[in-house]
């Protein structure tokens, strides 16, 4: 159980450890702190977005021990000691991952607000299933709502990446 500290007004906070993108952070959080807010406000990792805060839109998607979850439904204290990957952890040393490059080249990004969550869902899919069918791609991203693209180019981008391409077929 994480160490708890109570201040003079009786407010309890917990000292938790979050491994975010390979960096270990020790943060002080209240019990009711939501993981999305801790990532955005305390760690300044604003790539994870808030769209609905109720687990319906997927723009807050992070990988928790490699699995995509809606961080808006996860208490920070529940993530204590666990490995979190946010969108900021996808590129390596500033080099975009294939899925990111593919999404740019396929024009799978419009307003970009769903993009971080979409990239993480797609990356997690390709990690566990390097050769997904179109149906499997759609299933994997069905929890990421996009209002701009109709998902057409997004699905193309993910399938292309799975085929080892980052540029469209018609290029």
């Amino acid at each position: 159980m994480a160490q708890a500290i109570t201040d003079k007004d009786g407010v309890k906070r917990y000292l938790i450890t979050l491994n975010v993108n390979g960096d270990v952070h020790t943060v002080l959080v209240k019990g009711n702190a939501i993981l999305t807010n801790v990532l955005r406000d305390q760690l300044d990792l604003t790539g994870t977005k808030k769209g609905c805060e109720l687990g319906d839109c997927g723009s807050c998607t992070v990988l928790l021990d490699g699995k995509p979850v809606d961080s808006c439904l996860v208490l920070a204290v529940e993530a204590d000691g666990r490995r979190i990957t946010t969108i900021e952890g996808v590129a390596e040393n500033g080099r975009l991952d294939a899925i990111q490059q593919s999404m740019i080249n396929h024009a799978a990004v419009q307003c970009g607000y769903c993009t971080p969550g979409m990239v993480l869902s797609a990356k997690a899919l390709l990690t566990r299933n390097p050769h997904p069918s179109e149906q499997e791609v759609r299933e994997a991203i069905s929890g990421n709502l996009c209002r701009c693209t109709g998902y057409v180019h997004i699905v193309e981008a993910v399938l292309a990446t799975a085929q080892g391409r980052v540029t469209p077929d018609d290029h």
Partner: protein, 794 residues
């Protein structure tokens, strides 16, 4: 015309792509400022109520609360987006008019404290009866939403062109159909957010805005400040679709909170608050009458509409005019009558949503046209081709159409979708439907009366020419305007896209642009950008002419190289010429601006719907209906568009996909639902059903080769035009699959199931056998409720 362009016409990657895919892109809600506070607005729980008292004392005492404001603390000047109707207040003082109306606001150290503080504000209401049904809002004895507007009439329109009565009397076949649309909401994935801060007398607001200019204009007006002292900055923006076009309580209240506390204040809406703020699509009740000749050629049309405006006007006056204005675009007829009432109700205010007032009327018209086609035994594709507008024509309501390839769009989509084969052979339960659409390429007139240009741009080439920065007031809301305008700037200069930089949407830095609405930016902002680029190129060629000792008109610049057109030989790089220019002549700058020509007729409301150019498109959809459950599976969608010259093909098709995605959602799956107290039942994304990746069918999108002579490089719009046909297309595809029509949106599974059930019961009652197949041209069964009216020949 030549099509050897170096930059435009290529699917270059988005200029903001890397920022967005890496999470580096900062949206308004991502921004943090030193000493920043958080602000939230207290809203009304009642649809209609008098405010008796507001007690903020307990909220003020809560630790962490830095300011609490009500109507006493803010300017009382009424505002709104439509100058003809300023009917909103920052905070309600006498009464609240919808569940979600603004009552007070707090600024606190953190978000949590804001929610707690709001709960401590005590408001005493006297609940009043509410007008919740727009179909009855004008009836005698209905609660009045605004005392000044009798019978809750917000906008009343009566227009007639040609001689409708005569044309109908002479028609071979006259028919009337009635349809009802539903309220939908843009629901961009990024919630509204604003950060306000003061520096002495200067106000800066970062906002999730589609138009920094309109925000600047209306906020300066509200606070009685010179516009130059109001700075509006748009960071990255996560979707607007028309809902972020006007300043909201977040900006107005946020600015006051920031002034009172002397600290930056970030105000924001959560998803439920977004639904309440709304400014989404108006529900419309639509009666369409046409008279056609024996070939199905439309001789006259009448549109008699009623639209639900909600509690305030927003951009609704324009919406009301657009509802009728765009109907005569895709089909040519000379006699047209349009009557409309936009009414107030005690529900969230409606405004402009992708397609702005036009998609539901188009749904009605396209559905009606298929009914007419069925009455006459004409194929729906053929009846549209017969009526398709030709280029270089004028609509009955005085819109001049230059380029128009609607006929080619229809012919191409017919082939692409395998229309004829499917029309003959699809079994019952499978159907195919077609609809056309059209939209303005920018509005001919601005939202408020002004003689300022609609767009302006400048380009600064850096001192060594290795980069050029485009400064534009235009707004990338996801549609890709930053990218497309950089392409246009590079093309105009003869420069390379990859070296372009852009600064956009900051009223202190970038020149005037009206922003992202009415699909105006590629054309209008693009025209200004092209002019600016050409000015740079002129200076480059002049400088190069000196450097090369050749006449400037013998030189050209392309892909960053200056060369002689007539002789091979030395060429210069843009960089070296630009640098030389800076050394000898100072900064290398280009300026441009755009003002549309005077457009339109002189009748009341003539301005709305005017545009320098119109896009056209045709969509076909194939559906499969599960008769036992009513579930609709979309088998495929084909879209062919006439949008003039395409600057970036991939981005363009992305816009088509997105536009028809929204139309598709509104056709079957989306509806904002209210309880009997005017509260939204589904103000969240589980029950307001945005379609997921699993719901989407294969989509094939093409454009026809087209060129709009009035636009830069021949461009037209696409962002809203591709929503225009979708509702009608679904209505027709489902009709084709079932043989019976659902006359209201959304065309939900349950309505489809019920229509089929009732049809089955009617058939069983009549003892008729049902055809399993249909031959081409065989008479369709028409729904008993929509029997046509035959005109008596005179």
């Amino acid at each position: 015309m030549s099509d050897n362009h170096s930059v435009i016409g290529r699917s270059v990657p988005r200029i903001d792509g890397p920022e967005k895919v890496s999470g580096a892109a900062k949206y308004t809600g991502d921004l943090k400022f030193p000493n920043m506070l958080y602000g939230k607005i207290l809203t009304s729980p009642h649809a209609h109520a008098r405010i008796l008292s507001i007690d903020t004392s307990e909220a003020e005492r809560l630790p962490g609360v830095k300011a609490v404001i009500t109507h006493k603390d803010v300017p009382t000047l009424k505002y709104g987006l439509s100058p003809a109707r300023w009917d909103e207040s920052i905070f309600c003082s006498d009464k609240v008019r919808f569940v979600g109306d603004k009552v007070a606001a707090v600024a606190c150290l953190d978000e949590d404290t804001c929610y707690k503080a709001l709960k401590l504000i005590k408001v005493e209401y006297e609940v009043l009866p509410a007008a919740l049904d727009f179909l009855h809002a004008m009836d005698e004895g209905q609660p009045q939403v605004h005392e000044e507007y009798a019978r809750n009439i917000n906008t009343e329109i009566h227009q007639e062109f040609g001689d409708v009565a005569k044309a109908l009397a002479e028609a071979h076949h006259v028919r009337t159909d009635t349809f009802v649309g539903q309220r939908t909401y843009q629901s961009p994935i990024e919630p509204h957010s604003a950060i306000s801060m003061w520096d002495a007398e200067k106000l800066t607001i970062y906002s999730s805005t589609q138009s920094p200019h309109y925000f600047q204009h209306y906020i300066a007006r509200e606070f009685d400040m010179p516009m130059g002292d109001v700075r509006i900055i748009k960071p990255y923006l996560g979707g607007g679709f028309g809902g972020k076009l006007e300043p909201t309580g977040l900006e107005f209240a946020g600015a006051v909170l920031a002034k009172l506390t002397g600290r930056p204040v970030r105000t924001f809406y959560d998803r439920a608050e977004m639904f309440a703020h709304n400014r989404g699509r108006h529900a419309q009740y639509m009666e369409i009458t046409t008279g056609v000749d024996k070939n199905g050629k439309i001789l006259a049309a009448k549109a008699n509409f009623l639209m639900d405006g909600g509690a305030y006007t927003s951009l609704g006056i324009a919406s009301a005019y657009y509802a009728g204005a765009l109907l005569p675009l895709t089909y040519e007829f000379d006699n047209y009558q349009f009557d409309m009432f936009r009414v107030y109700t005690n529900l969230p205010a409606c405004g402009a949503q992708r397609g702005h007032g036009a998609p539901q009327p188009k749904y009605a018209f396209e559905s009606h046209l298929d009914n007419v086609a069925a009455d006459l035994g004409i194929d729906p594709m053929d009846i549209r081709i017969i009526n398709a507008r030709r280029p270089n024509t004028v609509t009955p309501n005085d819109f001049r159409v230059n380029s128009c390839k609607i006929k080619e769009c229809l012919e191409r989509v017919r082939v692409m979708s395998d229309w004829d084969e499917k029309k003959k052979n699809l079994p019952l339960g499978r159907g195919i439907g077609v609809a056309t659409g059209s939209f303005v390429t920018g509005a001919g007139y601005p939202i408020y009366r002004t003689d300022l240009p609609h767009a302006a741009a400048f380009i600064k080439v850096c001192e060594d020419g290795t980069a050029a920065t485009l400064y534009t007031g235009s707004v990338d809301i996801g549609q890709g305007s930053d990218t497309v305008l950089c392409q246009m700037a590079a093309e105009a200069m003869g420069y390379r896209y990859e070296q372009m930089k852009i600064v956009a949407a900051d009223t202190e830095i970038t020149p005037l642009d009206f922003g992202a609405y009415a699909s105006r930016q590629t054309y209008m902002s693009g025209a200004a950008v092209k002019q600016a680029g050409e000015e740079v190129k002129r200076q480059i060629l002049e400088m190069a002419s000196v450097m090369l000792g050749l006449p400037a008109d013998d030189l050209d610049c392309d892909d960053g190289k200056i060369f002689s057109k007539s002789r091979n030989g030395k060429s210069l790089s843009f960089e070296e010429v630009a640098r030389k220019h800076f050394v000898l002549r100072g900064p290398l700058l280009g300026r441009g601006s755009y003002t549309p020509p005077k457009l339109g007729g002189s009748f009341k409301g003539a301005a709305v719907g005017t545009s320098p150019a119109y896009s056209f498109g045709a969509q076909v959809g194939e559906v499969a209906i599960d008769e036992e459950t009513g579930e609709i599976t979309v088998v495929g969608i084909w879209d062919v568009h006439d949008c003039g010259k395409v600057i970036n093909p991939r981005l363009l098709h992305g816009q088509v996909h997105g536009a028809l995605y929204m139309g598709m959602g509104e056709a079957v799956w989306e509806e904002v639902l209210f309880d009997d107290k005017g509260r939204i039942k589904n103000a969240e994304l589980a029950n307001y059903r945005l379609l997921t990746a699993l719901d989407m069918p294969p989509i094939t999108s093409e454009v026809v080769d087209s060129y709009e002579p009035s636009g830069p490089w021949g461009v037209k719009e696409v962002g809203e035009g591709a929503t225009n046909p979708t509702l009608g297309m679904f209505s027709n595809a489902i009709f084709d699959a079932m043989g019976v029509r659902v006359n209201s949106l959304p065309l939900s599974y349950e309505k489809v199931w019920r229509a089929l059930k009732e049809k089955r019961e009617r058939e069983e009652d009549a003892g008729r056998e049902r055809d399993a197949k249909r031959g081409a041209g065989a008479p369709r069964e028409t729904d008993a409720a929509t029997q046509p009216v035959y005109a008596t020949p005179s």
